[in-house]
C-alpha cells in the first residue's frame, strides 16, 4: 500500500514538472499545476524529436532499459557484428565481451590481426565443430582422479579433458560462488581459453542457466561506458546516458529511473544538482572529516537568543518561536524573525570579512572554519529539514486520511499535500547542494546572481514549509495557497538549476568561477 502511494506520488510530481516546463513564462497561475494528469508525458521519444528539444539546460538525455531491453540490445549487436566478421554468434559474443563491447575497435583489430585476437579472446583456431561429450579409453580425470570406461568427459578445442561431473562442478563454482560469466576460463592448468556459450549450453544444468544469463547481462552493463545500473535497492533497470566522464566538471547529469530514484549518472550518488561530482566528492569528504566536531552538534540544537533555553528543531521551518519566552527568531541566522519578512531575507549570504582581519593567521583559520561552518550548517539544515518535512507529511497524511472519512473529502482533493511534500523534498535537496557548491565558489557578479537565486528558492521553500506545519484542520482551507506556493517553489528551482547549468556549461571568464584549487 505504502509503496504504491509512493509510485503514484512520484509520477504526479514528475508530470507536474513537465507542465511547469511550458508554463515557465506564464506567471504563477495555480490552475496550471492542478494535477494535469491528462497532459500526457508526450514526446521525449517520438514527436518532439523533430521540433525544438524540450530539455532544460540542466537536464540530460537518457533512456531507461529493463532486463529484456538489455538482452535484446546484446543480441542485436552480436547479430550485427557476427554478420560482418563471418563468425558464429557464440564466438562473436566472446569477442565483443573481450573488447568490452566496442564494436568499431573489435572490427578494426579483427581485420588487422585476426589470429592474435582470437588467441587472446580464448577462441583459438577453428570453431566449426560442435562441442560434444566423449568416453575415452584409459582416461583418468586430473581433478577427481576417477577413471573407468564409462566416465563421460568433455574438453574444448584446447584439449584439456576432464570428467563431466568435475567440469560441471567447476562451472557451478564459478557461476554461483564467484559470480563469473563472460570470462570463465578452461579448468586446465594455465589455459586461458574462455568457455564459450555453446559449451556452456551443453554443460550447465538448467538451474544455473538463469543465473548465468543474469551475470552476462551484468557484465554487459558494467562494460559499457554509457550504461549504468540504477543504484536503488532491488532495482533492475539500467540507464543509458551519453555524458562523458571528462565533461563532469561542466554538467551534472541527473537521471530519473523508472523505479522513482533520482541519481547522478556521473557518480551514481543521489541527485546533487547543481554541484558537480568532483565538488560533491570533496565536500562529502570534508564533512566526514569534520563531522565529529562540537560545531556539528550545534547545528542540531541551539539556544534561544533571548532566554538561552536549549531548543531542538522539530519541524522543517526556520521560523522559530521559543516555547518559554515566545521570542521569534530565524533558526539559520538566529536574528529576530520580524527583520526577515519577505523583503529582508538575507540570511543565505555569507559576508566576507575585511582583509585586515584576515592578515592575522589565527583569525584567518577561524575565518575559514567559520566560512565552512556557514555553508555546512545551511547544508546540514536543509538535509535535516527535508527529513522533518517528511515526518510532518507522514503525520499529516494520517490525519488527512481521517479527515477524508470524516469530512467526505476525496482522495484526489488531498493530493495537493503530496505534491507540496514532493516539491519540498526536491527543493531542499537542491538547496542543500547549492550550499556545498557555494562553498567552493569564488566571488564575482555571477556568484551574486547565484546567491539571489538561492535566496529566492530558500524563501519560497521556507514559506511552503511553514504552511506545512499548520494544524490539520486548517490545511484544507490553505489548499489553493499551498498549490500556488508549490508551483512557485518548483519554478524557482528550475530557474536556479537552469542558470547554474548554463554557467557551468559555458565556462570562461563570464561565468561562475571556483575558488583556486577546487577542482584538484
Amino acid at each position: 500500500m505504502d509503496s504504491e502511494d509512493e509510485v503514484i506520488s512520484v509520477a504526479s510530481s514528475e508530470e507536474m514538472m513537465e507542465d511547469q516546463d511550458s508554463d515557465l513564462s506564464m506567471g504563477g497561475d495555480y490552475s496550471d499545476v492542478d494535477l494535469d494528469v491528462d497532459d500526457p508525458d508526450v514526446g521525449f521519444e517520438t514527436q518532439d524529436k523533430d521540433i525544438k528539444p524540450k530539455r532544460r539546460p540542466y537536464e540530460v538525455e537518457f533512456n531507461i532499459y529493463g532486463p529484456a531491453d538489455i538482452q535484446s540490445h546484446q543480441d542485436q549487436q552480436i547479430d550485427e557484428v557476427s554478420a560482418i566478421l563471418g563468425q558464429p554468434p557464440e564466438a562473436t559474443a566472446i569477442l565483443l565481451r573481450h573488447t568490452r563491447w566496442n564494436k568499431e575497435r573489435l572490427i578494426e583489430i579483427y581485420m588487422d590481426k585476426q589470429d592474435t585476437l582470437l588467441e587472446e579472446a580464448g577462441l583459438g583456431k577453428s570453431l566449426a565443430k560442435l562441442p560434444e561429450l566423449k568416453k575415452v579409453k584409459g582416461f583418468v580425470c586430473e581433478i577427481c582422479c576417477e577413471d573407468g570406461p564409462d566416465l563421460k568427459t568433455f574438453s574444448m578445442k584446447c584439449g584439456h579433458r576432464f570428467c563431466l561431473d568435475c567440469y560441471r562442478q567447476y562451472l557451478a563454482q564459478k557461476i554461483q560462488e564467484e559470480g563469473e560469466a563472460a570470462r570463465i576460463k578452461c579448468p586446465g592448468d594455465g589455459c586461458n581459453k574462455i568457455v564459450d556459450s555453446k559449451s556452456l549450453d551443453l554443460l550447465v544444468t538448467e538451474d544455473l542457466k538463469d543465473r548465468y544469463q543474469v551475470l552476462l547481462t551484468r557484465t554487459y552493463v558494467d562494460d559499457k561506458e554509457n550504461l549504468k545500473w540504477c543504484p536503488a535497492p532491488n532495482c533492475e533497470y539500467a540507464v543509458d546516458c551519453r555524458v562523458k566522464q571528462r565533461d563532469l566538471n561542466k554538467t551534472v547529469p541527473t537521471v530519473h529511473c523508472t523505479c522513482g530514484h533520482h541519481f547522478c549518472f556521473g557518480c551514481t550518488l543521489n541527485d546533487h544538482q547543481p554541484a558537480p561530482c568532483s565538488l560533491v566528492k570533496k565536500w562529502l569528504k570534508k564533512c566526514e572529516d569534520d563531522s565529529e566536531t562540537a560545531n556539528w552538534i550545534s547545528a542540531n540544537t541551539k539556544e534561544c537568543p533571548k532566554c538561552h533555553s536549549t531548543i531542538e528543531k522539530n519541524g522543517g521551518c526556520n521560523h522559530m518561536t521559543c516555547r518559554k519566552c515566545k521570542h521569534e527568531f530565524c533558526w539559520m541566522c538566529m536574528g529576530v524573525w520580524s527583520e526577515h519578512g519577505t523583503s529582508w531575507y538575507n540570511c543565505n549570504r555569507f559576508e566576507e570579512k575585511s582583509g585586515s582581519e584576515a592578515r592575522d593567521a589565527q583569525a584567518k583559520s577561524r575565518q575559514s572554519l567559520e566560512r565552512y561552518l556557514h555553508y555546512y550548517n545551511r547544508y546540514a539544515n536543509h538535509e535535516q529539514s527535508a527529513k522533518l518535512d517528511k515526518d510532518i507529511y507522514l503525520k499529516t497524511e494520517k490525519k488527512m486520511t481521517q479527515l477524508q472519512s470524516s469530512s467526505g473529502m476525496s482522495w484526489i482533493e488531498v493530493q495537493f499535500l503530496d505534491a507540496a511534500s514532493q516539491a519540498l523534498q526536491q527543493c531542499r535537496q537542491t538547496l542543500k547542494w547549492t550550499y556545498a557548491f557555494a562553498y567552493y565558489l569564488a566571488r564575482n557578479n555571477l556568484t551574486e546572481i547565484f546567491e539571489d537565486n538561492q535566496k529566492d528558492l530558500e524563501l519560497a521553500v521556507e514559506n511552503l514549509s511553514e504552511m506545512f506545519e499548520k494544524p490539520t484542520d486548517q490545511l484544507s482551507g490553505l489548499k489553493v495557497e499551498m498549490m500556488d506556493k508549490t508551483a512557485y517553489c518548483t519554478r524557482r528551482r528550475i530557474i536556479l538549476l537552469s542558470d547554474t547549468a548554463e554557467n557551468l556549461k559555458n565556462g570562461g571568464a563570464h561565468s561562475l568561477r571556483l575558488r583556486p584549487g577546487s577542482f584538484d
Binding site: 586430473e142 581433478i143 577427481c144 582422479c145 576417477e146 576432464f162 561431473d165 568435475c166 562442478q169 567447476y170 563454482q173 560462488e177 564467484e178 563469473e180 576460463k185 579448468p187 586446465g188 592448468d189 594455465g190 589455459c191
Partner: protein
C-alpha cells in the same frame, strides 16, 4: 562429488608424504580429517629465512579442488606476502580463487610458497610497509627478517 574430492585428496596426501618437496614435511593434524595438513618448512638456504623452521597450516575447503587451499603461517615471519597478524595468511598467485585451477596440486602450492620465501613478490604484497622496505632497503629488510627467524623460528 564429495567422494571424488576425497579420492583426490588421499592420493595427493600419499604422494606428498611419500615424496615431499625439498625442505618440507607434511602430516595430518588429526588422522581422521584429511582437510587440515600441518607443514613443516625449512627456510631456504639462499634466503634470509635460512636456519628457520616454519610451521604452516594448509586447510582444504570442502569444495576442494574447485576452490583453492588456504595457507597460514603459524610461525611469525617477516615477509611482504604474509600477513603480520595472528592469521599469517598468504594469499596470492595460485592461492587466489580467480587464478586457482582445479588440476593444480598441493605439492605445487608448497613449492610456490617456498619459492616465495626465496623471492618475495613486493608488487602483490599484503604488508605494504615490508614490501616498500624490501624494494628500497634490502639490507634492512634482510636484517629484520633474520632477527625474526632467531626470535620466532628457532628449533622448537
Amino acid at each position: 562429488m564429495a567422494a571424488g574430492g576425497h579420492k583426490r585428496i588421499v592420493k595427493e596426501l600419499s604422494e606428498v608424504t611419500g615424496d615431499p618437496p625439498a625442505g618440507t614435511k607434511v602430516r595430518l593434524v588429526d588422522e581422521s580429517d584429511v582437510h587440515i595438513w600441518e607443514i613443516l618448512m625449512d627456510g631456504p638456504e639462499q634466503s634470509p629465512y635460512s636456519g628457520g623452521h616454519f610451521k604452516l597450516l594448509l586447510t582444504l575447503p570442502k569444495e576442494y579442488p574447485f576452490k583453492p587451499p588456504v595457507l597460514n603461517f603459524q610461525t611469525k615471519i617477516y615477509h611482504p606476502n604474509v600477513s603480520n597478524d595472528d592469521k599469517g595468511s598468504m594469499c596470492l598467485g595460485m592461492l587466489r580463487s580467480d587464478e586457482w585451477k582445479p588440476p593444480n596440486k598441493l605439492s605445487a602450492v608448497l613449492n610456490y610458497a617456498r619459492n616465495l620465501l626465496i623471492e618475495p613478490n613486493p608488487d602483490d604484497a599484503v604488508e605494504g610497509g615490508i614490501a616498500e622496505q624490501y624494494k628500497s632497503d634490502r639490507r634492512g629488510f634482510e636484517k629484520t627478517a633474520k632477527e625474526w627467524v632467531k626470535k620466532y623460528a628457532g628449533k622448537s
